[in-house]
Amino acid sequence: MSNTLQKILYVEDDESIAEIVKMSLEDIGDFEVLHCFSGITALKEVENFSPQLVLMDVMMPDMDGPETMLRMKAMPSVADIPIIFMTARAQVQEQKQYMDLGAIGVIVKPFDPITLCDRIRDMWEKS
């Protein structure tokens, strides 16, 4: 695994946000981003793509972020990939809950797309 963060699997059901985040990550952070619209797709793609980080929305239809993460952690090949949640649920408790599940960080929506890449990188490096 490279020492710098390059490959990010991004899971988000909202198209607009996904577009903006993708743009921010690719244009500002210069990351290689694979965007999946659902947790199920993400689970299918994650092994092939083998990202260094998974950035994942919490509230998604069919399979939400925490479940997707739990399933990933259950897949040995991808179990070690750090995961950052993005959520509109800004409550401290909820954030703590996600951290307890094994996430390395929580980014609260709305976020600043300019500083987003720096924050992700910080979190990734700290983990």
Binding site: R89, K96, P113, I114
Partner: protein, 983 residues
């Protein structure tokens, strides 16, 4: 509330009370009935005894009067020496046997003739009286007792010439009379002249030669002349002795001491089939030297007469009275049962008292009247008996004297010797007759018998006064007896004198006078009478002259008077019951009734009073209980009270409703019986209950409660102990609030807020992200206007984001759901970081944050994230309101009290004083107009204050209009490191 007349619980108590009250009048009634019955039996017995006594007296009197008649005959024979048939006939005729001596068959003379003198005797009789005697039957022995005369002859023909010595009964009686000098009767015999041959007897009185002594049996045999005799047929003699005989009293007379059929002389009833009489008296009487056995028995008629209705009346009245008492108790109880008696009727005890008292007086009066009636009846009956006894006895003596006078007249005067013998006999035979006198036609006393002690009387002129003279002269003229009023005689006793005019050769020949001592006369008369029970008073012309009871006082209200007719005088007889009779007859019943009645009245009054008081107390308690019960029932919370065994004592309606107990009666039941799931699944409640009972107050804001059906109820509860009056644990009071619904609502609300949060933030995220990227990419490439517009769009989307955050926070605060993760946090670096994070915002407003730190490190117990939010609010406000280019100063200090002091000072417009008080209110902004320029929700300071207060801190501010404002946090520290070298 349904109104029952008597509750089931009260019924046995009421019955008991009723019985208790009724037992007194019932006992009284029984006692009264018993006494009345006894009384009646005694009265009947007494009445019967009186009737028997009356019968006995009548029998004795009849026998005495016949004896008198015989003595009269004897007097005639003695005074005349011998009597011719005509003289005898005249004498007997004068007696008018049929009228005056009912039952007597005749009066005759029997003479003792030697067998060898019979012929001579018959010759003499033929010569003297021209009668041929048929002497019969012949006997072997020497003595013939021949009936010479018997008048009236017509009905006694078979007896003339009869030798009564033919039979030993007759002979024996004749010998006994002769030898004893007294009259004697034969045993039961059958008279020869009685065709029906019913039982009878002979009465024989001896006649002696007056000139010979008769002190011994031998002397009497020597002096004996003949017998005067009377034959009796039992049924004629005994018939109609008294009015009662045959109607209310049966009489049976036997000769001798046994009551066999052979000895029967008389029996008025032949009805042997009659039932056994209730009352009988058997008595042996000494009658003319023979013993008679007399049997009196009551008749059915008497028994039915004497059974009066008094006991029945008492029983009925008493029962009625008892019933009234019972009804009184019941009605008063029922009246008081139906309603809550807070105000008792003060008059009820008095009414009860009066009611029973009046009833008592009524009963007392009835009993008293009945008793007096009974006594009056007795007195009246006794008075009649006394009247008869006195009248017959006195008249009997008068008649004896009268016959003496008749003999004087018949014999044309008398020899003094014969007169004396006659008088002596009279005095001997008639107790009370003290002196017999012959008064000559000149009204001077000539002969006196006995002379001894009466010597002064001889020669006395008896015409003492005009009245006496008139009476005596009148008597002489009309040949009638006259009696003096009762007199105090010179001899020293009280007496009355009867004067009988006598004639000689048709001329007035003075009087035979008899002096009768009233005291002695009455003593004899009243012998065997009921003088211990009744007192009699005799008066003449209104002046009493004799009292039978000389000492004891008697009841004067109950007396009865009778008139005793004695020839030309009238005595008044007054009979009063004696004290001893009254004590026997007057029972304690009336007084007892009165006392018990009054005691009962008092008891009833007392009972009513206490019952009322108790009822009133109970009612008051009941009312209080009702009030409390109502209060508890309607308490708008689920409250229940339990005893130390956690059994239900009371509960509110809400409790019943919350736990589905509406239709169940759980009072008295264990809480664990009502909710069996508690000991099974929620056993910790048992511990909680125990702790509460022992005095602990336990409060829980929310706790799940697993119901039996598996459902979970969320409850908030409080357990409080309660104590008894003596301070000992009474149990616990449980207050619960079923917050399940609220919990549901809360969770729905949370869900809603969460959803709104997400749904609002998602587009804001897109907008802000897009604008942010656009600004970053096209920096310096856009014309200034476009860039300004882009900036405005970004700022406002940012503002919208804050607004959403603030609104959600405010919601959380309002719902009490703002959660703080309090941790010991180093505040200086935290403040510096936050200032740093917000510096870009300051730059946007062209201001600069300047931190003045006087502390190296300070540790406080805060939630860093929330502190960030609070301080950010102050910083953004300061940045917003500072004029361009100005500094915003952030100071970090530690006060003397080790409080962390963080202040943010701007040089803005300041806050007007009028707004100072509203600055921390929700949605408060000084510039409330729609044209305000600074933005913000007006929620920031409110949220800030709430957060800082959650850290036990305070928010304050100082502001001067035109100069700026300083907002400060004061937060207690845990520990502090001060920087010493900073000024």
């Amino acid at each position: 509330m349904p109104k029952k007349i008597i509750s089931e619980r009260a019924l046995p108590r009421l019955l008991l009370r009723m019985l208790a009250i009724m037992i007194i009048p019932a006992s009284l009634t029984y006692y009264a009935w018993h006494v009345a019955t006894e009384n009646l039996a005694q009265a009947s017995q007494a009445k019967f005894e009186t009737m028997a006594l009356e019968s006995e007296r009548a029998l004795r009197h009849r026998m005495d009067s016949y004896h008198q008649a015989l003595l009269g005959g004897r007097g005639l024979v003695e005074s005349a020496g011998s009597v011719s048939h005509d003289e005898w006939k005249a004498y007997v005729n004068a007696l008018d046997v049929a009228t005056n001596f009912p039952g007597i068959n005749g009066i005759g003379i029997i003479e003792d003739v030697q067998k060898d003198s019979i012929k001579e005797y018959i010759q003499k009789e033929l010569l003297n009286n021209n009668r041929r005697l048929n002497i019969h039957p012949d006997v072997s022995h020497n003595n013939y007792y021949i009936i010479r005369y018997i008048e009236p002859e017509s009905i006694n023909l078979p007896a003339i010439g009869l030798n009564i010595a033919f039979e030993k009964n007759r002979t024996e009686a004749a010998d006994r009379a002769r030898d004893s000098g007294k009259a004697a009767i034969t045993k039961r015999i059958l008279l020869v002249q009685d065709a029906q041959q019913t039982p009878g007897f002979l009465l024989l009185a001896p006649i002696y030669n007056p000139s010979m002594p008769i002190n011994t049996a031998e002397q009497r045999q020597k002096a004996f002349l003949s017998w005067v005799y009377a034959p009796f047929i039992g049924k004629n003699f005994m018939n109609d002795l008294t009015e009662s005989q045959g109607t209310t009293l049966n009489l049976e007379v036997h000769d001798g001491a046994d009551d066999s059929e052979d000895s029967l002389i008389y029996k008025n009833s032949t009805d042997s089939a009659a039932s056994t009489p209730l009352f009988t008296i058997t008595k042996e009487l000494q009658i003319m030297q023979r013993t008679w056995l007399i049997k009196w028995s009551s008749t059915a008629s008497f028994e039915s007469q004497t059974s009066n209705n008094e006991p029945l009346l008492i029983a009925v009245t008493g029962s009625f009275f008892t019933l009234l008492c019972g009804i009184f108790v019941v009605t008063s109880s029922i009246r008081n049962q139906g309603e809550v008696v807070l105000h008792r009727n003060r008059f009820l005890p008095a009414i009860g008292f009066c009611f029973i008292s009046v009833a008592t007086l009524f009963v007392y009066n009835i009993i008293l009247q009945t008793e007096n009636e009974l006594i009056s009846k007795d007195v009246k009956r006794e008075a009649e008996v006394f009247r008869q006894v006195i009248s017959s006895n006195v008249n009997n003596r008068i008649e004896a004297l009268s016959r003496m006078a008749d003999r004087w007249t018949t014999a044309e005067g008398s020899k003094r010797q014969y007169w004396q013998r006659d008088a002596q006999n009279l005095i001997t035979d008639h107790p009370g007759l003290k002196v017999v006198e012959w008064v000559d036609p000149n009204y001077q006393v000539q002969w006196v018998e006995p002379l001894l002690g009466n010597e002064r009387v001889v020669g006395l002129n008896i015409l003492f006064n005009e009245e006496r003279q008139k009476a005596l002269e009148g008597a002489a003229a009309h040949d009638k007896v006259t009696l003096t009023p009762p007199l105090d005689l010179v001899q020293g006793y009280k007496a009355f004198i009867s004067y009988f005019p006598v004639r000689k050769n048709g001329e007035f020949d003075g009087f035979i006078a008899g002096i009768l001592s009233i005291e002695e006369l009455m003593r004899d008369v009243l012998q065997g009478s009921n003088t211990s029970q009744f007192a009699i008073t005799l008066s003449y012309d209104g002046a009493p002259f004799y009292h039978s009871n000389k000492t004891g006082s008697t009841e004067t209200k109950l007396f009865f008077s009778e008139i005793i007719e004695l020839h030309d005088k009238q005595w008044s007889l007054s009979v009063t019951p004696s004290a001893s009779y009254l004590s026997q007859t007057q029972f304690i019943l009336p007084e007892t009734t009165l006392i018990i009645g009054f005691v009962l009245s008092l008891l009833i009054a007392q009972l009513i009073f206490t019952t009322q008081t108790a009822q009133q107390k109970t009612a008051l308690v009941q009312e209080k209980e009702n009030l409390l019960a109502t209060f508890v029932r309607h308490t708008p919370a689920a409250v229940a009270m339990f005893d130390t065994d956690v059994r239900y004592l009371a509960m509110s309606s809400r409790w019943q409703k919350d736990y589905g107990l509406q239709d169940k009666n759980v009072i008295g039941k264990s809480h664990y019986e009502v909710f069996p799931e508690i000991p099974i699944h929620q056993s910790h409640w048992l511990v909680l209950h125990k702790r509460a009972i022992l005095g602990e107050v336990i409060i829980s804001e929310e706790e799940p409660f697993l119901r039996e059906d598996g459902a979970i109820d969320w409850i908030r509860y409080e357990l409080h102990p309660w104590s008894q009056g003596d301070g000992s644990p009474g149990g616990l009071i449980m207050f619960t609030e079923n917050i399940t619904e609220r919990k549901k609502m809360d969770s729905m609300k949370d869900e809603f807020i969460s959803t709104v949060n997400h749904e609002l933030r998602t587009p804001i995220t897109s907008i802000m992200g897009a604008l942010g990227l656009l600004r970053a990419k096209n920096h310096k490439q856009l014309d200034p206007k476009s860039e300004k517009l882009l900036g405005l769009a970004y700022e406002n989307s940012e503002r919208l984001s804050y607004l959403v955050n603030d609104i959600l926070d405010t919601e959380k605060i309002a719902a009490g759901k703002m959660n703080y993760d309090l941790k010991e946090t180093e505040m200086v670096s935290l403040v510096v970081d936050i200032v740093e994070q917000n510096s870009s915002y300051a730059e946007r407003h062209s201001v600069k944050f300047v931190t003045k730190n006087l502390v190296s490190a300070a540790y406080c117990n805060v939630d860093a994230h929330r502190f960030n939010q609070a301080l950010t609010n102050l910083l953004s406000n300061a940045a917003k309101f500072s004029p361009t280019g100005e500094d915003v100063e952030i100071r970090i200090e530690i006060t003397a009290e080790d409080m962390l002091h963080i202040s943010v000072t701007d040089n803005g417009p300041g806050i007007s004083k009028t707004f100072h008080s509203k600055i921390f209110d929700k949605f408060s902004q000084e510039d409330g107009s729609s044209t305000r320029t600074k933005g913000g929700t007006g929620l920031g300071l409110n949220i800030t204050k709430t957060i800082i207060e959650a850290f036990a801190g305070e928010v304050s501010f100082v502001s001067t209009v035109g100069k700026g404002s300083t907002f400060s946090f004061h937060i207690p520290t845990i520990r502090v490191d001060r920087i010493k070298d900073i000024a």
